[in-house]
Symmetry: C2
């Protein structure tokens, strides 16, 4: 594996399918699983490691976000990555300027909770697509709305990249892997899997019955209070339509339950697609 | 020459330099000159013909903008174009969604006079770059701020395209060629070249002297009243810094005089780079 820091050093192998895994580092099994899938499906794999400042809001964890290039490089190499692209901020943003907006799927949920976040995500992903020029790019469904934003941007801007969305990788107790799980205290970590358990039990309650709008609302409120009862501060717990991200009362194909909740200072998100 | 209406029919010749001339049709010598330059510099030339609805504001001339595919196709063929890409609106915009914003160079002048115009321009040019995948794209300097927007967007988003800016082509009396010149009445057409004449005489007055800010202001006001005196309604007549598009009082390299003025209902723009 080669570590590349400068855009102009990136190779563009002409006769191989290039798979791409954009990351912010802090690798865990979720990232490694994307890299292994990329390696299995493509001849050549580029992973990027860039803690993108434009997707962090004021007061978020940009400064303390985990950074350990040496550890991450070893893990990426073992997962079959050919090129680890780790640019500096100046290399990616010699100046701030052009931004990409995907209003159709960014006004609600993570977009509402984190103003500017998805503009930052869309812009850096477009830039990375243009410098890496992959055939296929891999993203984890844990960040469901991010997946919708990137899929939508890629289609709308006719970017010549296939977006491949991969299942969330979880701890054995169900907690979705996230670089931010390391912020959890021991007691918060013990409570954390309850987020997925509540998503599963709500999904079952919503899916198997022909519920009225009111009954759906009651179920969602019940889920929130159950989470609050065990120590979460719930940001949202909603049933949404995946094409619009709008709330829906119909738990059918093309809908998902999405949740964001704090344990202490740590914000966890998770989802289940119906 | 082949006329292509559908994105998936566009060829991507692997071993040739692809030159690209994006247009809205209504071809005149300005367009043809870009096509001939592209043909001279690149092995393979794609021109696009798409009257982009997202760059027209309410009350602008989207409906009456000149459309004549047969005439334009003949002219493009004669200029050496290999592929004329003429998509429908549905082909380019199956839905509205993602937009590209270049605030650093779009808040003033044309951006201020035509809200949303440059978001429309930046978005369609990015989309066209992604479907045509040219090595070099050609634009005319008559639309100077558009050139700045596209250059800036291409750099900021790391689009793998070289933007080549070409001199304005003019009528023998100096009027910059524009598809909109056809809207001019005979008497307006007789007055129209005065716009360039005023730009030239102001440029000379500003360049050869070490003028104070006040003297520059006086010169610009004088230019405006001279144009108003012969029948223009001046939108702006300004000395700007090309990197920021901000007004400047220093007529040095990297600055330009830019003007927009109405003759009747027709809005003309022109500029001179110092």
């Amino acid at each position: 594996m080669q570590i590349v820091h400068v855009i102009s050093d990136l190779p563009h192998p002409a006769n191989q399918t290039v798979g791409f895994v954009p990351t912010m580092g802090g690798f865990h099994e979720g990232h490694l699983s994307l890299m292994r899938t990329a390696k299995a499906e493509c001849g050549f794999v580029v992973a990027s490691l860039f803690v993108n400042p434009t997707q962090f809001g004021a007061g978020e964890d940009f400064e303390r976000y985990p950074r350990n290039l040496e550890r991450d490089a070893e893990m990426a190499q073992a997962a079959g990555v050919d090129i680890l692209f780790a640019p500096t901020t100046d290399e990616m943003y010699p100046r701030r300027g052009t931004t990409i907006h995907v209003p159709a799927v960014t006004t609600l949920w993570e977009g509402a909770s984190r103003p500017g976040h998805f503009e930052g995500v869309a812009t850096i992903v477009c830039k990375l697509f243009n410098v890496v020029r992959p055939n296929v790019a891999y993203f984890g469904l844990k960040d469901l709305q991010q997946c919708l934003v990137i899929s939508r941007m890629t289609a709308d801007l006719n970017l010549p990249v296939t977006v491949s969305l991969q299942p969330t990788v979880r701890e054995s107790d169900g907690l979705a892997l996230s670089s931010r799980n390391m912020y959890l205290t021991e007691s918060e970590r013990a409570i954390a899997p309850e987020l997925q358990r509540q998503l599963i039990s709500s999904a079952l309650a919503l899916k198997d019955n022909n519920l009225s709008s009111e009954e759906v609302e009651v179920q969602l409120r019940h889920a929130k209070s159950s989470l609050e009862a065990v120590g979460f501060r719930v940001d949202y717990f909603e049933l949404i339509d995946l094409s619009s991200t709008h709330s829906t009362h119909s738990a059918k194909e093309g809908s998902a339950l999405i949740a964001a909740a704090y344990l202490g200072k740590t914000r966890l998100i998770d989802n289940i697609i119906l």
